[in-house]
């Protein structure tokens, strides 16, 4: 109990770090041989929340906690730690086959970025299916007994609680970035360090809570808007109450502006709605393209089922799917991974995420491109499984002619708990 409280406190700040719990088979309620088999990651918070929610909704189910290296479902699947191999591993080691009579698996929708359900079926005979995005919607999903969740259950949200928690996490992770300059400046400026830390946390939470109300595009622009507001307020207050001398006030205002802009720039990597594409966040330019090759589409609706932002829509006449909202695409690659006919053409290529893993891969890819330019032969490509974001593996043949554009990845710092 006390340990869980301690973990919850830590998770207010350090959600970008994995928090593993032992993988294996868990029982929710009193599952029988016909109870549903659910799969989730082994991020401690997720497992606790899933079990709690199942208990509350009175669902008896088997829960397979897959070894996703202690990372939440979405980030782990984007980073290649939650794949068909991971699910197969837990299927085999948990001995679930002997406990149930059916061979049906329900996967969390956000695992689609890494898990290929066709591969699981081919290799194990288990029929995997994507359930709703949030565990809260599982009861309704099971009750309806349909193969796919309702559209509203398939979309990522960024509600108040999520924004609050992501705000504190954003503050903490930014501290890592700012701490050294702050401490060095404090040698001369005395109390600067704690005021800066408070400032960073306050601005981070404000940025996150107000993100929908700020003017400008998501990213640095919204951070700048908040910064202008906050700096103006600060100057006005310090002029009214006669705070620090004018020079110091302006220096603080500049510091507020800088911190707020940086936080605005970093916030999308903590949100489920916007991609952490560096160029897009700074300059507002979009690189990724996605389209469905109509002749190849068989209308199986899997792309729509896995998409967390509703990019696809069905044409009632042709019964095939088309890209209805390319602007919402997060380039997670879930549709590409699961399309049975490889009908989805994209130019997703290398990761453009700010997480350390992606940074390393970007560097490697850049070096590789340089070498290719020098006509030096390069053996093989970056390992999709061990690397963050599936890189080239996610691109279909149609896209190879496309100009290499960065693939945005949101798997940087970890996101919401129950995904």
């Amino acid at each position: 109990m006390f340990l869980n409280l301690l973990k919850d406190f830590w998770l207010l700040f350090g959600r970008m770090f994995p928090l593993p719990t032992t993988p294996g088979l868990r029982e929710a309620g009193k599952p029988t041989r016909s109870s549903p088999v659910l799969v989730t990651c082994n991020f401690d918070l997720t497992v606790r929340k899933v079990l709690r929610t199942l208990e509350r909704s009175g669902i008896d189910a088997w829960l397979l906690v897959a070894p996703s290296r202690g990372i939440n479902v979405w980030c782990a699947s984007g980073a290649g730690h939650f794949t068909a191999d991971t699910v197969i591993s837990i299927l085999k080691t948990s001995g679930i086959a002997g406990r149930v009579d059916h061979r049906k698996l329900i996967l969390p929708q956000l695992s689609g970025a890494g898990v290929n359900i066709w591969s699981i079926e081919e290799r194990t005979g288990w029929k995997a299916r994507f359930g709703p995005l949030r565990i809260e919607d599982l009861a309704g999903y099971l009750e309806r007994g349909k193969h796919r969740a309702e559209p509203s259950e398939r979309r990522v949200k960024f509600d108040f609680t999520d924004r609050l928690v992501m705000g504190t996490n954003l503050g903490f992770s930014s501290l890592v970035f700012f701490i050294l300059p702050i401490l060095i400046a404090s040698i001369w400026l005395g109390s600067f360090w704690w005021k800066s830390i408070v400032l960073i946390f306050v601005l981070a939470v404000l940025n996150s809570l107000l993100v929908f109300r700020l003017p400008g595009k998501p990213g640095a622009a919204r951070g700048l808007s908040l910064g202008i507001g906050a700096a103006a307020l600060f100057l006005a207050v310090s002029w009214l109450v006669g705070g620090p001398p004018a020079g110091a006030s302006f220096a603080w205002a500049g510091w507020i502006l800088f911190v707020a802009t940086y936080l605005g720039y970093d916030l999308p990597s903590w949100s489920p709605l916007w991609r952490a594409d560096r160029k897009e966040l700074l300059l507002g330019k979009r690189h990724t393209r996605i389209e469905i090759v109509e002749e190849k589409c068989i209308g199986c609706h899997l792309c729509d089922v896995v998409c967390p932002v509703g990019v696809f829509r069905r044409n009632p006449k042709t019964r095939r799917y088309f890209v209805a909202d390319a602007g919402a695409c997060q380039a997670c690659g879930a549709c590409v991974e699961n399309c049975p006919t490889e009908a989805i053409a994209t130019n997703f290529r290398s990761a453009v995420c700010k997480c350390p893993t992606c940074a390393v891969i970007n560097r490697v890819n850049a070096l590789k491109e340089e070498r290719t330019d020098e006509n030096e032969s390069v053996g093989g490509d970056i390992a999709p499984e061990s690397a963050c974001c599936k890189g080239d593996g996610a691109a279909s043949p149609e896209s190879t002619t496309a100009e290499p554009a960065p693939r945005a990845c949101d798997c940087g710092p970890s996101r919401g708990e129950h995904r």
Partner: protein, 215 residues
């Protein structure tokens, strides 16, 4: 060999993995692979390599005249292995699925630096499957990181390992764990240890265990 925890970083770039692993282990890794190929594999053997990576060991064993089946879960690594060891059967398969390759099929099952990437449950499962997949009289060859047996060796290994583990973790969000209780596991399964070599203060070991030829 405590430095091997940072192998996960090197795995990000399969094309240069071998060269960097060589540097990280001061060339030791090549000597171990050569020793496995020269002493523990016979011409004509059917060998299963779990986690074949870039196929460098597979190539050595093929040179020796063995028939090699290599499995790995990294497509990037497999692609390079196909160039390095073109006559091996290379499959994208998890270690948990080696039962699909058939029972009592192999004379040798070789795993270098791959079992330490498994969770304890996975390791137990794979170990049982591997024994089933071995022919009678067949041998299991494991080269991996282990927990040293002496306390002071363990402390020293931890001093080297911890900082590197943190770095690896920050860069790849993953790591490896040194194998524990390997000897116990082997003897419990009824295998006989025929050879054992320890390197670098006992932090790394090469173990060869034989499945009894008659029960």
């Amino acid at each position: 060999m405590s430095t091997l925890v940072y192998m996960k970083i090197l795995e990000l770039d399969p094309a240069r993995y071998d060269r960097r692993m060589r540097m990280a282990t001061f060339g030791r890794i090549d000597r171990i692979k050569r020793e496995i190929a020269a002493h523990w594999v016979e011409p004509g053997d059917r060998v299963l390599e779990i986690g074949c990576g870039t196929g460098s060991l597979a190539a050595l064993m093929i040179e020796r005249g063995a028939h090699v089946v290599g499995i790995d879960i990294s497509d990037g690594m497999l692609e390079i292995a196909r160039a390095n060891a073109s006559s091996a059967d290379l499959l994208h398969l998890t270690a948990m699925e080696i039962d699909t390759l058939g029972e009592a099929r192999f004379d040798r099952i070789v795993a270098t630096f791959s079992l330490s990437e498994l969770s304890p449950d996975e390791f137990d499962h794979v170990f049982d499957l591997a024994i089933n997949a071995l022919k009678r009289g067949g041998r299991l060859v494991i080269a991996d990181e282990v927990r040293p047996s002496h306390r002071w060796q363990r402390a020293l290994a931890a001093c080297i390992r911890r900082p590197l583990a943190v770095l690896t973790f920050l860069l790849t969000r993953s790591g490896t764990r040194a194998l524990r209780g390997l000897d116990h596991r082997i003897s419990r399964a009824g295998l006989k240890i025929v050879h054992r070599e320890s390197y670098l203060l006992g932090a790394f070991t090469l173990i060869v265990a034989e499945k009894e030829s008659c029960s």
